[in-house]
């Protein structure tokens, strides 16, 4: 019996290993590429751990003249789009949940199904007419297409599960709807807001398709900047892999440290941006 249990344990750990290894090996390989000199990256059979680490790949990325600009662009676009979405989406989620206006979620469903490119054609023209194309404003606005549905979606689900009794008691005591929202509903909803915030940040940060159309040379976000490195500037793998890792590192760290919230949010609404 105990031998059976041991065999079961071994089988379980083997399957865990098999399942997790594609992810682990990929990101380790990414790290390895980013830390190797050209000689090691071009050698066959491939070198996994080089004798000398090419830290200069990272230094090169940070030293390249525009990387900091693109990093700030990404911060501004993702930050603004997420904060605006929270400001607008959290009250909306509350209102929809309390009015039980479930049909309005159809709009969010449409946003979920629509390919991101479809928004781009009309909004591209609109931004052109408004003369906004050289700035970050078009990207902030269009990222709302990603962030607002995520926030509303998750907040509807969350506010539906929070108890009504406290809110009703506060209303009877003469509080206004706004006061009830601000002082009763909102404090309880903090975990839900954390989930919405994290997912909005990740999907906005990762977004690529809006940037390739709307971003000019000065207004690129990091994913677009990395893509442009492939096509124009860089042909050596080390700095490219280093740049790729830097772009995605904030998201990866967030995933590992906030995996509980991310899993909760994804399984609640199964949302994905763009």
């Amino acid at each position: 019996m105990s031998l059976r249990q041991i065999l079961g344990k071994i089988a379980l750990w083997l399957s865990v290993l098999v399942i997790v290894s594609p992810a682990i090996l990929f990101f380790l390989w990414m790290l390895s590429l980013s830390l190797k000199f050209e000689v090691d990256n071009a050698s066959y059979p491939p070198v996994f751990i080089p004798e000398h680490f090419a830290w200069k790949n990272y230094a090169d990325v940070f030293a390249s003249n525009r990387f900091l600009t693109y990093f700030i662009n990404s911060l501004v676009v993702t930050g603004s789009a997420t904060l605006l979405a929270m400001l607008i989406g959290v009250p909306a989620g509350y209102g929809i949940a309390r009015m039980a206006a479930h049909k309005s979620a159809v709009v969010i469903l449409i946003a979920r199904i629509t390919p991101g490119l479809s928004y781009l054609i009309p909004l591209f023209l609109l931004f052109q007419w408004l003369g906004l194309l050289g700035t970050l404003v078009p990207q902030i606005i269009i990222h709302l297409v990603v962030t607002i549905p995520i926030v509303i979606w998750i907040m509807i689900g969350y506010f539906e599960t929070t108890p009504l009794e406290l809110e009703e008691a506060a209303l009877i005591d003469g509080a206004t709807r706004w006061q009830v929202f601000r002082h009763v509903a909102l404090p309880i909803a903090k975990p839900g807001m954390a989930v919405a915030f994290i997912l909005a940040v990740i999907f906005s940060w990762n977004n690529f398709v809006f940037g390739i159309v709307l971003a000019g040379r000065e207004t690129r976000t990091l994913p677009v900047a990395v893509y442009n490195m492939i096509s124009f500037d860089q042909l050596s793998w080390g700095p490219l892999a280093a740049a790729a890792l830097i772009v995605t590192l904030p998201v990866l760290l967030l995933t590992v440290f906030a995996q509980r919230q991310i899993v909760a949010g994804l399984t609640a609404g199964a949302v994905k941006g763009g």
Binding site: W29, I113, T114
Partner: protein, 311 residues
């Protein structure tokens, strides 16, 4: 203001008659979102439909042409070819993650130390920035220096051209898509597994069922609704997959991996044929909705609420 009027009857139904005066409405909470949604989701749709009825190229005068843009689609060989690529790509990108995701969910349903952390690792591919991922996969697919051919050689298989050959480009991209999105299927199925009661397994064990029999006759039927939801979401995402394909192959070599979404990009933002591009966007959206509706019809209505998160 128009939208307020449209949706107002629903709100009126909710408030009990005679109580409206005491209970101020929740509308102020929703109005800002409504305005934004109208501006960035509804307006683009209406405008796209309007553009699709016009000959609308950047730099040329705009002329109304009715359905001419739509008539052009079936006679456009590149569009027809793109539809074929999309179907193959989508079918594979739904089936493979469903299979692997279900297997992974069965494993993650067991209790073992470090499960939360390992689950975090496991979902990293779907959360990572797609362009960054695509860049590394491109290097891995490199015919001479890529690690994929080295891995093949370890198990005695001949080297491949991967994304650099028309015959293998779609399977190679599906490999990336599967790697990336198996975790989402796993999470959804894991939720399904958590909802299964333990009793059927206990009685099955008493009757002497083995692991496979229990999986086949108890687990699978009970998680079927979750598999269906996962399949739907996967289908919608795979049909409009863009980042990975664009960053790795840009639809090439030639047009061997050009899906509808990639072709839409070329028409609208390389040829700047916005009218025709809009027609593709509309048809593309209709196709997605029809596919989703068809699946839903096959699966009955109950699941709709689940995918809509309470829609």
């Amino acid at each position: 203001m128009k939208a307020t009027v449209e949706v107002a009857p629903g709100a009126a139904d909710m408030a009990a008659p005679g109580q409206e005066l005491q209970k101020p409405s929740y509308w102020p909470f929703v109005v800002p979102a409504l305005v934004v949604v109208l501006a960035i989701i509804i307006f683009p749709w209406v405008f796209t439909i309007w553009m699709s009825l016009n000959e609308w190229k950047v730099g040329s005068p705009i002329t109304f042409v009715g359905l001419a843009n739509y008539m052009r689609l079936p006679t456009d060989p590149r569009f027809v070819e793109a539809v074929g690529h999309t179907i193959v790509y989508t079918a594979l990108s739904v089936a493979l993650p469903l299979i692997f995701g279900t297997l992974a969910a069965v494993v993650f349903h067991q209790k073992f130390p470090g499960r939360g952390f390992l689950r975090g690792i496991f979902i990293m591919p779907m959360m990572a920035t797609p362009v960054a991922i695509a860049l590394v996969w491109t290097m891995m697919f490199h015919p001479q220096l890529g690690v994929m051919n080295y891995l093949l050689s370890l198990v005695g298989l001949p080297p491949q051209l991967w994304v650099f050959h028309p015959g293998t480009v779609i399977p190679s991209l599906v490999l990336v898509e599967t790697w990336q999105w198996t975790p989402l299927v796993m999470l959804i199925v894991l939720g399904g597994l958590a909802s299964i009661p333990i009793e059927p397994y206990e009685s099955a064990k008493i009757d002497g069922a083995n692991f496979w029999q229990m999986f086949r006759y108890i687990t699978l039927p009970l998680i079927a609704p979750f598999l269906f939801i996962a399949g739907m979401i996967r289908m919608i995402d795979a049909v409009k997959s863009f980042d990975i394909i664009f960053a790795i192959t840009q639809g090439g070599p030639g047009s061997a991996s050009e899906t509808i979404n990639l072709y839409l990009y070329s028409v609208a933002f390389i040829y700047y044929d916005l009218g025709y591009g809009s027609a593709i966007a509309v048809i593309f959206f209709v196709l997605i909705v029809i596919l989703a509706a068809l699946l839903l019809y096959l699966r009955q209505r109950t699941v709709w609420t689940e995918i809509g998160g309470g829609a």
